[in-house]
Amino acid sequence: MTLALVAKPRATSKRTFAFLHPAKWLPLVLMLAVLGALWQWGAGSMPYLLPPLGDIGQTLAQDAGYYLENALVTLREALGGLAIGTAVAFVLAVVVSEFTLARRAIMPVAVILNVTPLVAIAPALVVAFGFGAAPKLIVTGLICFFPVLINMSMGLRAVPLPVLQVYQTMHASRLETLWYIRVPSSLPYLFAALRIVFPLSVVGAVVAELSAAGSSKGLGTAISLASSMNRLAAVYASIAILAVLGSLLLLVVTLLERRLLHWHETRAGAK
């Protein structure tokens, strides 16, 4: 199996616990402390602009169930759209990298789709598909689609010529070349795209929710409800959860990358 990878080399305990060293975490902690202090100062002098951190925390604690439920809805939309967009982009990338005519037909359309502001498309999709999950999945899928398509179609064609020639002289079929050589060597490109679209999927889901003013669930909906009632702390409570969701998704993709791409040269010197 091509994708079954060799055991991870030199996973020493020294490396595993490296993050415990103060030089690793102290700068971030100090930065967060400074930002928190600035926030509190701002909230104290301009209460209509920023709610105090304590209020946000209190809101989250009081309505934990409500926020959890809405966060799960948004997360489900984000991951669903991410899966659809990435899968379609992956398949299309294979098609455009194998067939020049298909590339000429598909890539310009994809570019046009990409430069059209999705915020503008979202309301139209709500009109067409209603307040259910469909428009959210479509918007999220569209937003995730393009980076994956571009990177994958580049990665599939980035195989060094000598490698292709070696297997050409053995008369490897196109399918064999694709499966054994092109797809695995495009994985670093795929992950570069995934690092972008995993967090971006949350943006897609929220944009779709904000456009569908009548939808009943999701953090985007929670934000528009809270802001219409001038509940600033509740707005920021949802925003805080979104930030955490985005960070978690980025963490997931980073861990996956570390597991699957340990052979890749940009990982070899990673600290």
Binding site: P9, P162, V166, S173, S185
Partner: protein, 263 residues
């Protein structure tokens, strides 16, 4: 088994913009008999790599004919008769050395050839200890050895090698020449070997083909009558040096001719 390479009247011209053209190969005739080791040597731009790519079926001549074992290069490739060792190892970075050299068995499966025991072959090439490592974890010399094992693994009738040792240091290069000869002795294949090293050509070959550029063509064919096996000791003998001098002289002729044409 027949692995005879027959090149007749082959011509290859590259268009190089602004109506210009470069004749990489001009009416080249060459026969490499089954089981012999033939090196092609010449200054850069003499078309030696073009010749190899044409025999590999990676490039189509504008005129003339090439057969490998009586078949067109494309048919020979389809029958898995060819093995290619390029200048760079061209290993897949995500596969271990063993999986890299075993991959040729998995492609083009319809043509079931008797394949070598790869573990055994890797051990013979001195890669037994590193066969489960990734290419990036072994030295350049080891990587190139793995590339040679990969090519030999299918027992090809014809082995095409395009300056495979040119990126290696002198010591590694000599060690690899010896191992190549050992493997060749055991597995017997017709070898077409491109090089720009005179001593390498003399040591390895039954016959050396000298080429000259503009237009790329064959200017000399020199038979090397040295006993085999050709170990380290042979490199110091007067016979070896005499052949080196001879090849160097003929090469100089090819260079001068090229310069005279150019000026």
């Amino acid at each position: 088994m027949s692995g005879e390479i027959r090149v007749t009247g082959v011509r290859r011209v590259y268009e190089i913009g602004a109506g210009g053209s470069l004749t990489a190969l001009d009416d080249v005739d060459l026969t490499v008999e089954t089981g012999t080791f033939v090196s092609v040597i010449g200054p850069s731009g003499c078309g030696k790599s073009t010749l190899l790519r044409a025999v590999a079926g990676l490039e189509t001549p504008d005129a003339g004919q090439i057969t490998v074992g009586g078949l067109t290069p494309e048919r020979a490739a389809a029958d898995k008769m060819l093995g290619l060792v390029p200048q760079t190892p061209a290993l897949l970075p995500w596969l271990s050395v063993l999986k890299n050299v075993s991959l040729p068995k998995k492609v083009n499966r319809r043509k079931g050839r008797t394949t070598a025991d790869m573990v055994d072959l890797l051990s013979k090439a001195g890669l037994g200890d590193v066969m489960h490592k990734l290419p990036s974890q072994i030295s350049g010399g080891m990587q190139q050895r793995a590339a040679i094992v990969r090519a030999f693994g299918l027992h090809p009738d014809v082995l095409l090698m395009d300056e495979p040792f040119s990126a290696l240091d002198e010591f590694t290069r000599e060690a690899l020449q010896e191992q190549l000869l050992d493997l060749w002795d055991e597995l017997k294949a017709t070898v077409l070997f491109i090089t720009h090293s005179v001593s390498e050509a003399v040591r390895l070959s039954d016959r050396i083909v000298v080429m000259a550029p503009r237009p790329g063509r064959i200017t000399d064919v020199i038979d090397i009558d040295l006993p085999r096996p050709r170990g380290q000791a042979l490199l110091k003998t007067p016979e070896f040096h005499a052949y080196e001098d001879l090849v160097r002289d003929r090469l100089r002729g090819a260079f001068h001719y090229a310069n005279a044409i150019a000026s």
